[in-house]
Symmetry: C2
Subunit: 211 residues, 2 copies
DNA sequence: CCGCAAAGTGGAACGTGTTTCATTTTTGCA
DNA sequence: TGCAAAAATGAAACACGTTCCACTTTGCGG
């Protein structure tokens, strides 16, 4: 669960709040995240909670950011196996999917929060998409991608090309839409994987011929 | 706005409720759809509203279904112009996007409702995706697609092939994800169109070479 | 035409997200 | 060390989704 994050902005209180949120959402989903309970369990007053987070959705998007950050760290340590980009990308999305389905209540709650449409969430959502994009590019390449925020000049990883960015974005959008369908009860693990296999075949075949 | 629908199941009361929902959502978005107001404005009691719709989200998904049904009727009357599939598909998504952005509050509210993740909404969501898929296939072909529910054997339109279905599904997923990003404040009309142009190029190029 | 079951009504009541406020605690700095 | 500003507290208040209930209306088979 990666209890420490590299982000120094995430100080004690905020982290406790987010961790409580995750805990409650894991157990009972979106409705189980009762802000009074979150505050009590995290040992803060409602006012404090609302000083840090604008709304319940903000809280869950922060949880998503938190989880994704932890995941990116894990993914970056152990590059994905697979000779072809298609294999690596499928392995990567399979891993993401397994991660989500392992805690379905939490995942549904976080997905729901992303669709709230509040402008205040835009920044956090952007960050999330950015991280997802980097991980997908890493899977395409089979090598980690340099993050601008951390270790600004460690290994001289190649710039992300426009084409890489396009392919990664499109794959992420597809995966995200499929996960939303799963959250809505329209897909199960098998059909998610099947859809990603089909979509990845379609798109990466095109990409390979282009290059 | 297509005030009459071909669905006879949508009887008077339910339709008034949905129309009121749309009206209120257009003005003030998700929060402006106060169920007390919906009931009062539609001339029914709360109990009646809750007999027809399980929740606020159910109401907004019903509105989405209603609007999409009306749109499909309009789209089917006037097939899309354009020599290549790419052009037609882009014209189609451009039209969808314009339709959404014309009533941003309503659109955001409906999108948000789709992500609620309640299993009770699965059927309505499935219907929505089905309609969207048919319209996309029609755009790919440049000709209307037969609907199984209405006029079961009117013009002998070709069966939808697996490949068509895959391409249409993927394009719809991308568009849907992009619209969610728009709803979250991460995209504007220009960037939506740019993204769809890039994605469509990527995918339809692959499709053409496959066939 | 009767009577009953289903649907609708009006409104109260409940839970939870969000806001507010008077008071207390913490923090940064002269 | 002392003090003003910022942050936190605890609790009450409010709004709105949702549920419940006692009563009325509607529709329909006998």
């Amino acid at each position: 669960m990666a209890t420490q994050t590299s982000d120094p902005l995430l100080e004690e209180r905020a982290r406790r709040i987010i961790e409580t949120t995750i805990e409650l959402a894991e157990k009972g989903g979106f409705e189980a995240v009762r802000l009074r309970d979150v505050a009590a369990h995290a040992g803060v007053a409602m006012g404090t909670l609302y000083r840090r987070f604008r709304s319940k959705e903000d809280l869950l998007v922060a949880a998503l950011e938190f989880e994704t950050r932890a995941l990116e760290e894990r993914v970056n340590e152990r590059p994905l196996e697979g000779a072809h980009a298609t294999e690596r990308v499928l392995a990567y999305f399979g891993m993401q999917t397994r991660g989500m389905l392992r805690r379905p209540n939490l995942s549904r709650a976080m997905l729901r929060a992303t669709a709230a449409g509040e402008p205040a969430l835009a920044q956090k959502l952007g960050l999330f998409h950015e991280m997802m994009g980097r991980m997908t590019v890493a899977a395409l390449r089979g090598a980690p991608v340099a993050r601008p925020d951390v270790e600004p000049n460690d290994p001289p990883a190649a710039e992300i090309s426009e084409h890489e960015k396009l392919v990664a974005t499109v794959l992420n959008q597809i995966w995200f839409a499929v996960m939303l369908s799963w959250a809505g009860g329209l897909e199960d693990q098998a059909s998610i994987n099947e859809r990603m296999r089909a979509a990845t075949g379609l798109i990466l075949d095109a990409a390979e011929r282009d290059s």
